[in-house]
Each structure stands twice: as C-alpha cells, then as structure tokens.
C-alpha cells in the first residue's frame, strides 16, 4: 500500500502544487488521480517516485518511508509510463523494453527474452521487436511504454496521462488493454488523467483534486457518480452522471421476454400466438435465431415468411445480456424505433427483448438495492462493458 501522509509541495515562487494531501492507495487496484490542470495530480504522482520531493509530509510504501532507500532503487521498483511514451529513439523496441532489467543487471539475452514476452502481453506483434520507435504509430509506442514499465515486474505502476496524446479510438483500445493486463497482473497502479470519463472507466478508486492541490473527493467511481461531495465534484463530473452511473449496474437481472420473438419461417398460427401476448411489435429472427428486424403484428398476420425483409423496422444495436450494463440496455432501447431493446447471447442469437419501461423498473430497483445494500452492495457492482 502507498500511503500519502499530509504531503505538501510548495515551490520557491510561492505556488502550492499540492496542499496537505493524505491518500491511502490500495494494493492491486487502479487508483486514478483526476482534476483540472494545475490541481497537482502529476506532482502528486511524481512525488511517489521522488521525481519531485515534498516540502513537508511523507509517503510510505508498504509501511516504510520511501526516502529510506536509494532513490534509483525505489524508481526501479516502480514502473513509470508518461504521456508521449518517452521511448529511446536510438534503441530498438526490444531494447527499449529491456531497459530496466538491464539496469538491474540481467544479461542481455535474458532481458530481451523477457522483453519479447512482454510485447505479446501488451498486444504488440513480435515482428516489431527489431524496429525503432519512429517506425511505430503513437498507439504502438504507448504500448511499448507500458511494456517497458512492466519489464522488471514491479509491484507498482505509475502512469502519467499515458493515453492523452492518442486519438479517441486508440485510447479506447489502450484503456481496454490496460484493464485486461491489470486483470492478469493485479498491479498497484496510480494513474493520472484530466479526463473524468477515463477515470471512471478504468479506476477502482478515484481521487478528484481541485486547483491548489487539495483533495475534493476520494471514492469508487460508482459512489462518485451517485453522491459527489460538493458542487465542484458535481460540476467536474458533468451533466449526465445519472446515465453514466448505469454502467455500474449489470443487466443480469433484467426481465427479458421471448414472447414477441418469431422466427422468419413462423406460420400464421405461431404469429397469432405471439401477437396474443399483446406486444405492439414482433421481432423477426433468421433461421439461426439472429435478429432481422421489427414488424407490426397485422403486417405479419399471414405468416412471418410472407413479410418482405426490406419492410422490417431496424432493430438498432443489440446488447449482450448479462455481460453489458443497464446503460447499454437503455441505450439500445432508446436507439430502437420501437422502444424495445434486443438482447443477444454470446453467439449473437436473440435471448429476448425488453421494453424501456422494464429497463426503467430495473434501474429503480438497482438504485433501491444499492441504497439498502450500502457498503456491501459495492461488491455486486461490476465494471460491465468496460473491458469490451
């Protein structure tokens, strides 16, 4: 555990970058420091590996003061990833990644072997090993930066706005990759970003900091969204935090119905049975059970096979039942012209359909359960959809 105890950083010109900050960063999870520019988040991170020395206060790593060991030994025990990757352009990719193992005295062959292994882990093709950084895209370079930080298998990873300089699509895949790697490795990660959406997506705990280097709130993302500590945090979170919070509610318990679902070869009798269930629309599926589109019951009265596929209403995008969150389910329902969301299983076959009203009810009961469950309820909150 990293304990930041009443740490203040004041510069000679009088500016206070970090003001009496105390924070317990839990092991094996991702703690995000987030806030507007000038809030001291990067300074805080850089004090953990002593790139910046605090004016007062202390930082403990597993109970002992970080100033007790030689500064370079401390830094070698922590992976460090920065915004533009900061790769050594005169070294090949494999030698970039092998930097810390080489500093720790590994022989070249063993260090390179380890580097190649890590390339696979961060999703880089091994054919890039002998390339130089300028031959890689920004996203690939950032992956190399992460691999380099992981090379000596440090228990702690410090990441300073690692994904800010890449385009949104690449950023999304890097975030997903980080969550996947974290699932495998369980590092203690301190992650700095100015992007609250990124913080909510990847953080297990989020420390919101305000200008002047003070802590505004330290909470898990779900709690941050449901009960911001003050107007600053609320404002920083943005206007749609209610919707965003739904990402933390699983669609597991959602009541799906298969009654309005008919196969494309259904005869008039089967259509009549489905119509009798009272749904305003029927969902047609192909022979494999994959969705084709919605149709009004009267248009299909003569049998589903009589319906021209071109006349079907589009079904929008389906959501993966149980794996995606209530936010995804609601989004699908809102996108659907009929107001019904289509749920599919892992193979893309229709698992059932669900109306906006049913999703609304599920949201209300999730809120209620969460309030009653209190702290215990936190365990049931999943990062559904975050890793996809």
């Amino acid at each position: 555990m990293i304990q930041i105890e009443s740490v203040t950083k004041r510069y000679p010109d009088g500016t206070t970058a970090v003001d009496n900050l105390s924070l317990d960063i839990p092991d094996g999870s991702i703690t995000v420091l987030v806030g507007p520019s000038g809030c001291g988040k990067t300074t805080t991170l850089r004090m953990v590996n002593r790139m910046v020395e605090p004016t007062s206060g202390r930082i403990l790593l597993d109970g002992s003061d970080i100033t007790e060991q030689p500064v370079n030994a401390l830094r070698r025990s922590m992976g460090y990833v920065i915004q533009n990757a900061g790769l050594f352009q005169h070294r090949t990719i494999v030698d970039n990644i092998a930097t810390v193992p080489r500093m720790l005295g590994w022989d070249r062959r063993k260090a390179r072997e380890r580097a190649r292994e890590l390339m696979g882990r961060v999703g880089l093709d091994e054919s890039l090993a002998r390339r130089y950084p300028y031959q890689l895209s920004g996203g690939q370079q950032q992956r190399v930066g992460v691999a380099r930080a992981l090379a000596a298998d440090p228990p702690v990873l410090l990441m300073d706005e690692p994904f800010s300089a890449v385009d949104p699509i690449v950023r999304k895949s890097l975030q997903a990759e980080l969550l996947r790697i974290q699932q495998e490795l369980g590092k203690t990660i301190v992650f700095v970003t100015h992007d609250i959406d990124e913080a909510i997506k990847i953080g297990d705990m989020i420390a919101v900091m305000r200008t002047g280097g003070r802590l505004a709130q330290f909470a898990p993302p779900d709690e941050l969204l449901s009960s911001p500590a003050d107007a600053f945090v609320e404002d920083f979170l943005g206007t749609d935090r209610g919707i965003r919070r739904l990402s933390f509610f699983t669609s597991d318990g959602l009541q799906l119905t298969a009654e309005p679902v008919v196969a494309v070869d259904a005869d008039a009798e089967q259509v009549a049975r489905a119509t009798a269930a009272g749904s305003p629309y029927l969902l047609l599926t192909d022979a494999e059970g994959k969705p084709l589109g919605w149709v009004a019951p009267q248009d299909a009265a003569g049998g589903a096979d009589k319906v021209a596929v071109g006349r079907l209403l589009p079904y929008g995008r389906p959501f993966a039942a149980g794996r995606e969150s209530l936010r995804d389910a609601l989004d699908c329902a809102v996108l659907s012209p009929t107001g019904w969301a289509v749920a599919v299983d892992g193979e893309g076959k229709v698992a059932g359909v669900v109306s906006q009203e049913t999703i609304g009810a599920a949201i209300r009961s999730a809120h209620a359960e969460h309030r009653d469950g209190g702290g215990a309820g936190r365990a049931s909150i999943t990062k559904a959809g975050a890793a996809t």
Binding site: V71, Y80, F88, T99, M103, Y132, Y134
Partner: protein, 222 residues
C-alpha cells in the same frame, strides 16, 4: 596555361612525391596540425557545450564567446602570436583552435538543448543515474548535430592550416607560400588542390563516422 594543366603537371612530376618536401609528407604534416587543433578545440568546446546544453544554463555567455571567437581573424591572430611567442607550433595552434571552437561549442549546446525531454524524464523515472542518462539517452540522440559541428570545424581547420607555412612551419601551405615566392604557379595550384581534396576528405570521414556511430533509429527519425 590552364589551371587543369597546372594540376596535372604538378601531380605527374615524380619529384613532388618523395622526401621531406614531397606531397605525402606535407599531407601528413597538414593533418597532424589540423587534428591537433581539432582535438584541443573539441577538448575545450565539447564539454562546455554539452554541460551548458544539458543544464540549460549559461547559454547567453556561450553565444557571446562563440560570436567573439568567430570575429577573430585567423591570419591576424597568427601574426600577432608569432611576434609574441616566436617560432613554434603554439602560435599556429591558437588561431586554429579559436577557429574550431565556435562551431563545436554552438552545435553541441544546441544538440543537448533540443534533446526531447520526454525520454530523459522516462529514463530518470525508471531509475537511471545522471551519468547514464547523459551517455545512454541524451548523447546518442544529440550525436548527429554534435558531429555536424565537428565536421564544420574540421573543414575550416583543414582549409586554414595552410597559414602554418607563413610562420615557417610545414603542411600544404608550404606549396602555396613557396610557389608564390618562386612565382611557380604550378606548385601553388597543386597545393591548393590538395587542401580542397583534404577538406572533401573530411566531409567523407564524418559521413562515415555518422553511418557507424549514429543509431538507425535516430537517423531514420529525422
């Protein structure tokens, strides 16, 4: 007589290829003076430029020194030093070193100052010591610019070392000075041609050093 006639006559005369006054010996002398001056200049200017560039401090003072040194006339300085110090290598070395210092100083300062700070920050954050950061992170990237400074210094020094002959030393300047006094223009042109050839050889030499010493990752990235 055309200049090409002079050149071909000069190089074809076998008398010019032997002994203490022959071409090989003069070239060797010329290179000795040049590399000595270049070595001294690099010994002064490289550390000064690298350190100021690395720390980012003293850049203004350095620019001032470089500009002042550039303003010094080599010929005038030589004559002055000769009358002050007498015959010897030192009065020749002083103007040559003064000539070579500014390009080395300015480019090595620039080279260090323009090194991308991100890899340096990453290296320090990974626990690399300051000496290792300098030699393993900054210098390899700054090398092309540093070499270009050494190259211009080398070209200028090789061209100017001819003035050594004015104060009775050897080198290729001998052909020019002696040729002029004897009104033997074949020798003058021959000596001048050899100096041009050596200057071109310097370009080739530094190109080769660049190929061997600069990482393909740095060359390709520019």
């Amino acid at each position: 007589m055309s200049i090409f006639q002079f050149i071909s006559d000069f190089f074809r005369d076998s008398a010019h290829w032997h002994g203490q006054y022959g071409i090989p010996h003069r070239v060797l002398e010329h290179l000795q003076y040049s590399f000595m001056a270049l070595g001294i200049a690099a010994g002064i200017a490289l550390p000064a430029g690298l350190i100021t560039g690395h720390t980012g401090r003293g850049g203004n003072a350095l620019a001032l020194i470089a500009t002042a040194a550039r303003a010094l006339p080599s010929y005038g300085l030589l004559v002055l030093m000769f009358f002050w110090l007498g015959i010897g290598l030192t009065p020749v070395m002083i103007p040559l070193v003064a000539l070579a210092v500014p390009p080395i100083l300015v480019t090595s300062y620039e080279a260090m100052r323009t090194v991308d700070p991100a890899p340096v920050d990453a290296a320090r954050g990974m626990g690399m010591g300051p000496v290792a950061v300098l030699f393993q992170v900054e210098l390899p990237v700054a090398l092309p610019l540093i070499l270009s400074g050494l190259r211009s210094a080398a070209i200028q020094v090789v061209s100017t070392t001819a003035i050594a002959a004015i104060v009775s030393l050897g080198g290729l300047g001998r052909f020019i000075i002696d040729g002029l006094s004897q009104r033997d223009y074949e020798i003058v042109v021959g000596g001048a041609t050899l100096i041009v050839g050596l200057a071109l050889a310097m370009i080739a030499l530094f190109w080769l050093i660049g190929r061997l010493a600069v990482s393909p990752g740095v060359r390709g990235g520019r």
